[in-house]
């Protein structure tokens, strides 16, 4: 059942050292504020699960919080590589990380399988690709009707999923709109769900019946954090801060610059900082 909590408490009560955790968002609605709160609370030995680990996972990996990353595309979207993640993989700095790599399709369907109470996802995929050679989680099963070899991956069942959304109503139901990504599946596949939202509205009455909604009884905690997706964006609220993504390439290229940036912009800040960051980006 949804509880409205301050972000620090929502994160503290639902994330633990060693957890498998997904901070999901597909370019849109990336839960930056929740990730920064996790960095401030200094969790350890996390398994980070996400289709597109981008800046927030680069930051968490750079802080040495991750032991493992399960992913399908590790890039700074539209900019280039993830330099803290590369440093961890190539140089074990600040610690080595294990990687489990999939295709987007496999990751999306592994979340969907988790949401569907299935132990695996089965699909027509990975033919001729090398990932099955380096990821033993990828298997093949013969279709009992056609004999075709189909790819299988284990379902994702994260201990906890964090997402950002536009609105909660007063009951704690949550509305996601625009590029909805894989957030509904990531939430329904998880043991616990924490949502940051831009605002709380009295009710969703009068909205179109087929919108993407998570009922309050699927959510553990909601924190109201205006701007909480910055430098990602929130459809209907504020635009993507493309400059910040470009700047991350420079910051993340240098270990000391990175550490200083985290001190100044994460450790030394509170969730309130996000509202200021999107002021110039509101539509």
């Amino acid at each position: 059942m949804s509880k409205f909590l301050p972000l620090s408490q929502a994160v503290g009560e639902n994330l633990g050292n060693g957890d498998v955790v997904a901070f999901e968002g597909f370019t849109h609605l990336i839960p930056h504020a929740a990730a920064h709160e996790a960095i401030r609370q200094g969790f350890k030995d996390l398994t980070l699960l996400r289709m597109t680990p981008d800046i927030i996972y680069d930051q968490m990996i750079g802080m040495g919080m991750a032991k493992k990353v399960i992913f399908s595309y590790a890039g700074n979207p539209g900019v280039g590589l993830l330099r803290r993640m590369r440093d961890a993989i190539e140089n074990a700095y600040p610690r080595g990380i294990e990687t489990v790599e999939h295709s987007h399709s496999a990751m999306a369907q592994a979340y969907e399988a988790g949401a569907s109470g299935l132990p695996l996802a089965l699909f027509r995929g990975y033919k001729g690709a090398d990932l099955p050679k380096v990821n033993p989680d990828i298997r093949f099963i013969a279709c009992p009707y056609t004999g075709e070899q189909l790819a299988a991956v284990p379902a994702h069942r994260p201990d906890v999923t964090f997402i950002h959304a536009q609105k909660a109503n007063q009951k704690g139901d949550v509305l996601i709109e625009g590029i909805i990504g894989v957030q509904k599946e990531a939430a329904l596949a998880a043991g616990r769900v924490v949502v940051t939202v831009e605002e709380v509205v009295p009710s969703f009455r009068g909205l179109h019946p087929n919108l993407c909604i998570l009922p309050h009884w699927t959510i553990d905690a909601i924190a109201v954090v205006p701007g909480g997706a910055h430098p990602s964006y929130t459809h209907g609220y504020y635009e993507r801060d493309n400059a910040a993504y470009l700047e991350w390439d420079r910051i993340s290229a240098d270990r000391d610059l990175f550490a200083g940036w985290i001190r100044e912009n994460v450790l030394g800040k509170t969730p309130d900082a996000f509202a200021d960051r999107v002021k110039g980006l509101r539509q």
Partner: protein, 260 residues
């Protein structure tokens, strides 16, 4: 129109290959520019799909990321990412998928995963994203690439996505019914696979490009078509459309930067 860059030629040559009936799975960069130039010139009814779930988009400026708000705002519909991969990509609804490459071989196999050994990489690249299933699910694959010795290699370090494998009927032997890479458009030339061997063969050189320039920037021994042509240079309309699009894009992204 004589004053154009190799990148502009590459983008416009790719745009020309697209038609109103195509349903394209678009990647960021050159494919996105090419698809939108096609839409703004000869193929106004082309359907552009980005893997963020946006179907039938018509962005006024090019997106910086695969999930920019502009894509959703101008789309016919935006679906979830699992649905995008299940019903639209793997369901066989895409006629043309675009792929780029960090490494490419002569059979259209692509590496965007690692340089060096997978477990001890020299360079850890972003990885495949949607590519493994794009390569096998789309009706055919168009590859865009800026030529370079380190990019066009004899043997790629990792098969991120499967092209024609070892060539010949390798796709059929894997049970694949889609056509795979049918077109490679570089900044220097247009390549198509040989109908038997499936090795890429240069069919057309862009204006001002020599055979040596193509060979010098390619890590394998290049085959040229017997009836090698010259790629028609960009028309004024094509170049104007591309440059306007890029100017609008630069202005929009600079605007966001100022606002930050």
């Amino acid at each position: 129109m004589t004053d154009f860059t190799p990148n502009e030629m590459m983008t416009i040559a790719a745009a020309r290959q697209l038609s109103n009936d195509d349903v394209c799975f678009v990647g960021i960069g050159a494919p996105s520019a090419a698809c939108n130039v096609a839409r703004l010139t000869h193929a106004p009814d082309i359907t552009l799909i980005y893997e963020s779930g946006t179907i039938g988009t018509a962005p006024d400026v090019l997106p910086l990321s695969i999930g920019d708000g502009e894509l959703c705002e101008t789309a016919l519909a935006t679906v979830s990412v699992p649905e995008m991969f299940r019903y639209w990509l793997m369901g066989g609804r895409i006629s043309i998928g675009f792929l780029g490459a960090a490494q490419l071989d002569r059979f259209g196999n692509i590496n965007t995963t690692v340089i060096g050994d997978y477990h001890h990489p020299k360079v850890r690249l972003p990885g495949g994203g949607g590519a493994p299933e794009i390569a096998t699910s789309c009706g055919e694959i168009y590859i865009t690439l800026k030529q370079a010795q380190r990019a066009m290699v004899e043997r790629i370090d990792f098969y991120t996505s499967f092209g024609h494998g070892d060539g010949g009927d390798h796709r059929q032997r894997l049970g694949l019914t889609t056509r795979g890479p049918t077109l490679l458009i570089t900044d220097l030339a247009i390549w198509r696979p040989d109908s038997e061997s499936k090795e890429f063969v240069v069919r057309s050189l862009h204006r001002g490009v020599t055979r040596d320039m193509v060979q010098d920037t390619c890590g394998w021994t290049v085959r040229f078509s017997d009836d090698l042509e010259e790629t028609p240079p960009p028309t004024a309309e094509e170049l104007g459309t591309l440059r306007d699009l890029q100017a609008r894009t630069a202005a929009a992204h600079a605007g966001a930067r100022r606002a930050a």
